[in-house]
């Protein structure tokens, strides 16, 4: 069923009794052309672009829980493409362009809201660094504006501009950045892929990868074995576990990252703001909750729940940036497990096992990358060649020393 004003009106007249499920719930078939492990944002996006851009529809997406139960529903919904390095900028800008046309492409309301993302700076040196990043972005065709203190104050008057240690001196603004409704992104991709014949198989955990003569030929699952000509893994957080099934080790550690939402409030802030003197960022959802986050907990964890020290750390940053938040009550916090790659950048590549494709290492930034990640991964699976904008995201960059170190933090995942 195509969603439109007409379908809404006709359903309204019929008492909304004619809506059908957004996707089927099929049992797995014994064989597919492509099996995608992981029914999160990236896996579902990959299935959608395989079907819509490459005409490959004999595809199954295997999800161990329910669709979107992992990180696509656990992030803080921010979309942006304000990256400095040549390996990153074109990839994230492709993602931003796909975000801009996503709802028309999927026929689904993903609530994409280009409300602007401001990175605050608090010193002359930081202003120089941000001016450099803004210039790099503009050279790559991405929008960027350097704001002075008064321009930032006009956008977000609630912030503490005269903080004794970290006075706000300005910000780097990307107006096209913003937020999107994360669950709707998963649901929209799921519905679009399903409508082209992709089987979305839930409660189906992959327990092994069958390899014959150096080639991946199928997977063992909790719902029986499935043969496949190509197997693609998009399971960030658990990439090392799936890779281990194929005898591989990855340059990845799994860490828990927490996120937070406050009680619902009247409109207070209409853009995304990041604190330049600590790891903290905040925006306000359309329901009114302030959505914010900070650092990973800092030790390997698959627990999907964090500990109190980081909560305290995030709240301290919040108070330093916006003292008025002291009166606000926190409603919920939760954790998701991240693939923290050794350089802080992702991996979209073939593997030493023929027929096995890897999409991993998204660190803090998987959600904003969802469309381009799916787009480039589908390109790799369909053609065997990396997409030009994702050509830097290959595994051989680590032994070759060509790491993409956006933060300049070195080969330590616990610094990213």
């Amino acid at each position: 069923m195509r969603y439109s004003l007409f379908s809404l009106l006709s359903q309204t007249l019929r008492g909304h009794k004619g809506w059908t499920p957004a996707w089927r719930d099929p049992a797995p078939r014994p064989e597919y052309d492509v099996v995608i492990i992981g029914g999160g944002g990236h896996g579902l996006a990959t299935a959608h672009y395989l079907a819509s851009r490459h005409g490959i529809t004999n595809v199954a997406v295997l999800e161990k829980g329910y669709l979107g139960s992992g990180n696509v529903g656990r992030n803080t919904t921010i979309i942006r493409s304000n990256y400095l390095l040549p390996g990153n900028t074109p990839f994230y800008e492709l993602s931003m362009k796909l975000w801009e046309g996503l709802e028309q492409d999927l026929n689904y309301n993903a609530m994409v809201s280009q409300r602007g993302v401001v990175n605050l700076f608090h010193s002359d040196a930081q202003r120089d660094a941000f001016a450099r990043r803004g210039n790099a972005m503009r050279l790559a065709g991405v929008d960027a504006e350097l704001l002075d203190r008064e321009q930032v104050r006009a956008m977000a008057p609630v912030l503490d501009f005269d903080n004794a240690r970290f006075p706000i001196q300005g910000g780097l603004l990307q107006r096209r950045g913003g937020t999107a409704r994360h669950d709707a992104v998963a649901w929209g991709y799921a519905r679009a892929a399903d409508s082209r014949g992709v089987d979305l198989i839930q409660n189906c955990e992959v327990t092994g990868i069958t390899i014959t003569g150096g080639r991946a030929v199928g997977v063992e699952t909790s719902r029986g074995p499935i043969r496949a000509k190509k197997i693609a893994t998009a399971v960030a957080g658990n990439s090392s576990r799936v890779a281990a099934m194929a005898g591989m080790r990855l340059p990845i550690e799994t860490h828990v990252l927490q996120a937070f939402v406050s009680e619902g409030l009247k409109p207070l802030i209409d853009c995304v703001v990041t604190f330049g003197a600590g790891h903290f960022y905040i925006s306000q959802s359309d329901k009114g909750g302030l959505v914010f986050g900070g650092d990973i907990d800092g030790y390997n964890s698959y627990a999907q729940r964090g500990n109190l020290p980081i909560i305290e750390d995030v709240m301290e940053s919040a108070m330093a940036l916006w003292p008025g938040l002291g009166r606000v009550r926190m409603l919920r916090h939760w954790g998701g497990v991240m693939d923290m790659s050794m350089d802080g950048s992702p991996i979209i590549d073939t593997t030493p096992v023929e027929g096995l494709y890897l999409n991993a290492g998204w660190c803090y930034g998987g959600f904003k990358a969802t469309p381009a990640s799916g787009f480039c991964f589908a390109h790799l699976i369909a053609t065997g060649q990396p997409h030009p904008v994702a050509s830097a995201y290959r595994l051989d960059r680590f032994p070759a020393g060509r790491v993409i170190d956006e933060k300049g933090a070195g080969a330590q995942p616990n610094l990213h």
């Binding site: 658990n238 090392s240 080790r249 990855l250 550690e253 799994t254 390997n300 020290p309 080969a411």
Partner: protein, 97 residues
């Protein structure tokens, strides 16, 4: 999370800094191949379950510890002083000689 330091007793994990997997051994940089060095620097087992890892007791006795912890539950099974491993290895070498 609390870590029971062999020297100081049970302390809040905030007193410690984390360094990651305890078992990778740095190859001799002059003798090792580039591939072996890359393996040491970048590749990780990253298990879901029992993990031996290095923690530094910076707000306590300044000892490096090897903590055995379950990455699914954060439950800690064992804490040893990292130096004891080295001393043990040296003692063995000495015994052979």
């Amino acid at each position: 999370m609390r870590i029971t330091c062999p020297h100081c007793g049970a302390r809040d994990a905030q007193e410690f800094s984390y360094l990651g997997a305890a078992d990778p051994k740095r190859p001799d940089g002059m003798a090792a191949s580039a591939a072996a060095m890359a393996e040491y620097v970048y590749q990780r087992d990253n298990p879901a379950g029992r993990h031996r890892e290095l923690w530094y007791h910076g707000a306590g006795c300044h000892a490096w510890l090897v903590v055995t912890r379950d990455t699914r539950t954060h439950a800690i099974a064992a804490v040893e002083v990292a130096k004891a491993r080295k001393a043990g290895a040296a003692a063995k070498v000495g015994a052979k000689a």
